[in-house]
């Protein structure tokens, strides 16, 4: 990336902000840029050396830069950049954190051209339905092009957050090679790499503070990556590898924990037994967040069991507990002593814990704010949670049997209890089979702070199990009464009415997920016409066709994406959209011929999104871009 592409900056005289520098922050911004060498800074001269009386415009820009440094929220920054050219420039120079909501909406080159002094990058790739096998593998969202461009332009990069991207071992090697100040890597729902890439990262990123692998697919290259961390003391503060499905060398891990005095967050995978966990915990009593690994498979010896309870008691700072992947429930009482401090508890990776076991824990968790569980705790378990956790902000109840004909042991009863006990609730994800409008309506009234409401009635088209009516009124009440609602996922039997409610009341809704719902095009029309803040819309298996698609033409440029699969849109309908909106990339994905689930004239999957840089070059053969 050469400086000549930064056309906006070429006219600038040598910026005196490098020497002037009103605030420390501004100086650091520029200093980092200059020191990390080779950052394409247009005409940004050397460090120290240029002194001349600044032009009045220059003064304004200096002031602006120094002020804008304090603006952190990206939406505020976006607004600021629209004020004028000089604001745009100043904002671009002072933005250190870049967030790319859709990796294909903009090319890496364009980003590095506009924002020169970036230390933190977040990129999201595949649409969410890819998590549920609705996208063939190799669809895209490759990190490599970003890696190579950033490797040249962002030498000072410290933090990288990727979600649903495909990242290779070579990309990880590049990170290790090109970014000497690299501190934090967070990979959420990513794939494409293996333990060999992790090894390179561990070995070469000397300053790494956080390595967080969350729900990512890591291939087993049979390399002992933990042992690749340097021998001396590390700066590690966070190490999360609970999703890594391969055994690790425990001795190496223990030694690593011993030489990582700053370690606060440790999330072990299921190959770490409870006996091994004990050994780690006594080495790291300073932990604030612990993923316990298997919490089972104890090494059985003739000696007594180690005193697990005291190990937990010694960790006075633990506020966040997860793991329990292969839980041996008889050891659960060991965690009692930390329960009273817990703000976050995640039982949703573990095996069943039953109602009684759960109650014995949850009844001690008075400060709990975040709870993730399996439905094996039953309505009764949820009632217990509702009774104790008055501060609860977020709850997620996952199905232990994720099949649409499973007998889910939680129902409207549990939902109602939660709504009555946890009035401060902001976010809920709830899987069940039996639900009633009454319970949902009650929640809408009891929990006015709800921002996220995601209800998944697993059996398709299931109505209110008491009245037999559609779930329209329940969801209607949610959008009507929860005035802060920004994210909604609907399910169960729903007619167009539900969607008219959403269009009418869901004025702040940004994300909407719909499946097996609605009667006609009107449903989608209501939403597209009624929800001005809508950004992400994902729909599957609904009777929505070209007519409804057309009704969103006025809004698609404001959205991050629209996903429609197994609906009733035709190729022609999609083509029409593509013609009317040239800056929209319209991807049509066809399934294998024999497994086409829709009639031949309907498109299998439509995924469309705005883009500044036109259709992507890396689309696989099964993707057609109109």
């Amino acid at each position: 990336m050469s400086g000549s592409e930064m056309s906006e900056d070429e006219e600038r005289p040598c910026p005196s902000d490098l020497t002037g520098g009103a605030t420390a922050k501004a100086r650091n911004c520029c200093f980092n840029a200059a020191v990390s060498g080779g950052v394409s800074g247009g005409v940004s001269g050397g460090v120290g050396g240029f002194h001349f009386s600044p032009h009045p415009d220059q003064v304004l820009e200096n002031v602006l830069e120094n002020v804008l440094c304090f603006l952190t929220d990206r939406r505020d920054r976006n607004a600021a950049s629209l004020v004028s050219k000089s604001w745009h420039r100043a904002e671009a120079l002072t933005r250190s954190e870049v967030f790319i909501g859709n990796c294909y909406a903009v090319s890496p080159g364009r980003v590095t051209a506009r924002f020169e002094r970036v230390t933190s990058v977040a990129i999201k790739g595949k649409p969410r339905f890819a998590d549920f096998s609705l996208l063939p593998p190799d669809w895209g969202a490759h990190f490599t092009p970003w890696a190579s461009v950033m490797g040249d332009s962002y030498r000072g990069l410290e933090k990288l957050y990727l979600k649903r991207m495909s990242i290779s071992d070579d990309d990880l090697a590049l990170l290790a090679r090109c970014f000497p100040s690299f501190k934090e890597l967070v990979l959420v729902c990513c794939e494409g790499f293996g333990t060999s890439g992790l090894a390179i990262l561990a070995r070469d990123c000397r300053k790494i503070r956080a390595l967080d692998l969350i729900e990512s697919d890591v291939s087993d290259d049979e390399v002992d990556w933990i042992s690749y961390f340097p021998e001396n003391e590390t700066c590690l503060e966070s190490l999360a590898f609970d999703c890594v499905e391969c055994p690790i060398d425990f001795e190496a891990l223990e030694k690593l924990v011993i030489r990582s005095p700053s370690l606060k967050r440790l999330r072990l995978n299921r190959f770490v037994s409870i006996t091994q966990l004990y050994r780690l915990m006594i080495r790291a009593p300073q932990l604030t967040s612990l993923g316990t690994g298997s919490f089972g498979n104890p090494t059985l010896t003739d000696e007594q069991d180690p005193d697990y309870a005291s190990a937990f008691a010694a960790c006075k700072s633990i506020v966040c507990l997860s793991g329990f992947r292969e839980i041996a429930p008889e050891y659960l009482p060991a965690i009692y002593s930390v329960c009273c401090n817990l703000t976050s508890l995640n039982f949703s990776y573990g095996a069943n814990i039953n109602t009684e076991q759960f109650k014995s824990v949850i009844s001690r968790c008075h400060k709990l704010q975040v709870l993730w569980v399996f439905d094996s705790v039953c309505d009764e378990g949820l009632e217990a949670a509702a009774e104790t956790c008055k501060d609860l902000r977020e709850i997620r109840v996952f199905p232990i049997e994720a099949r649409e004909d499973a007998e889910a042991p939680v129902s409207d009863v549990g939902l109602l209890a939660i709504s009555e006990g946890c009035r401060k609730l902001k976010s809920i994800l709830y899987f069940c089979q039996r639900m009633t409008n009454a319970a949902v309506i009650a929640m809408s009234k009891n929990c006015p702070d709800l921002v996220v409401f995601r209800l998944c009635i697993m059996g398709r088209h299931l109505p209110d199990h008491v009245t037999g009516e559609p779930m329209d009124e329940g969801f209607g009440a949610i959008v009507k009464n929860c005035k802060k609602l920004t994210r909604l996922a609907v399910s169960g039997l729903l007619t167009d009415k539900a969607f008219s409610y959403i269009g009418q009341y869901g004025k702040l809704v940004r994300t909407l997920s719909v499946a097996f719902a609605g009667d006609s095009d009107m449903a989608l029309k209501y939403v597209l016409e009624g929800c001005p803040k809508l950004q992400k819309l994902e729909i599957r298996d609904c009777p929505f066709g070209d007519l409804s698609l057309r009704s969103g033409l006025h809004h698609y440029y404001n959205m991050r994406f629209l996903w429609l699969s197994s609906c009733r849109v035709t190729l022609q309908g999609c083509q029409e959209i593509a013609c009317q909106l040239p800056r929209l990339v319209v991807e049509v994905i066809s399934g294998e011929d024999e497994e086409r689930s829709v009639s031949p004239e309907h498109v299998n999957t439509l995924y469309m999104y705005r883009s500044l840089d036109g259709p992507r070059a890396d689309a696989p053969s099964f993707v057609q871009i109109l």
């Binding site: 593998p137 729900e215 292969e326 232990i400």
Partner: protein, 226 residues
């Protein structure tokens, strides 16, 4: 991810419910090979042009009927739909993964045949999809590329570039071996490529001197070469 879903359909019942429900249903062929069929059980939507009230009634009635039908699980298995309910596979397979003791040597992804490749002296192994290559030479080229990009920590400083590695692979110092379906270690290159792809479970590139203990045939070839 898709493999576990059943798709046995009792055709008669299916059609019956298809007419009465506004359910998504598709024209599924009945697969007879139930255990191994991979199903992308997506189902399209059939427009029944029902008006709302009768739609509701029908739904209520047929939900009950459907539930009754579902209870005859052995005979009438509902077609499972891909990606529904929307739970990520990491959470879905919890109970199953706890029962798995070891992991598979081979992964089959679609038409790919992934095998592990280890090279003596290299710090870790890689995986290759044998279906990506059409000949032994193509495979060796790919392996050379793969292993030469390692910055190998101890020993093996020879592998600084691809060409050197290729030479080494082709020379008598190194022997490429593979483990076949029967668990025997064989010399790579003896059988036609297609047969090799079918039977290869794992690859190992070892120093010639360590090829002692291989099948006599392989040993013989070793001796003859040097």
């Amino acid at each position: 991810m898709v493999g576990e879903e059943e798709n046995t359909i009792n055709k008669l019942d299916f059609e019956e419910t298809e007419l009465r429900l506004g359910l998504s249903c598709g024209r599924k062929k009945v697969h007879h090979d139930n255990d191994t069929t991979n199903v992308n059980g997506k189902r399209g939507f059939v427009d029944l042009k029902l008006n709302i009230s009768s739609h509701d009634i029908n739904n209520k009635n047929t939900q009950l009927e459907f539930k009754n039908n579902s209870s005859l699980k052995t005979q009438v298995a509902k077609t499972q739909v891909v990606g529904w309910p929307p739970v990520r596979s990491s959470r879905k397979n919890i109970l199953i993964s706890q029962k798995i003791i070891g992991h598979q040597e081979n992964d089959k992804i679609g038409n790919g045949v992934l095998v592990k490749v280890s090279m003596d002296g290299a710090p870790y192994l890689r995986k290759v999809d044998l279906n990506m290559y059409k000949s032994y030479q193509e495979l060796f080229d790919a392996l050379a590329k793969m292993f030469s990009s390692f910055t190998i920590v101890q020993g093996m400083k020879d592998f600084m570039n691809e060409r050197k590695l290729m030479d080494l692979l082709n020379s008598s110092d190194y022997v490429s071996t593979y483990q076949d379906k029967d668990g025997d270690w064989m010399l790579v290159g003896d059988v036609p490529w297609g047969m090799f792809v079918d039977s290869c479970k794992r690859l190992r590139i070892m120093k010639g001197i360590e090829a002692i203990g291989l099948a006599p045939k392989a040993m013989e070839k070793c001796k003859n070469r040097s």
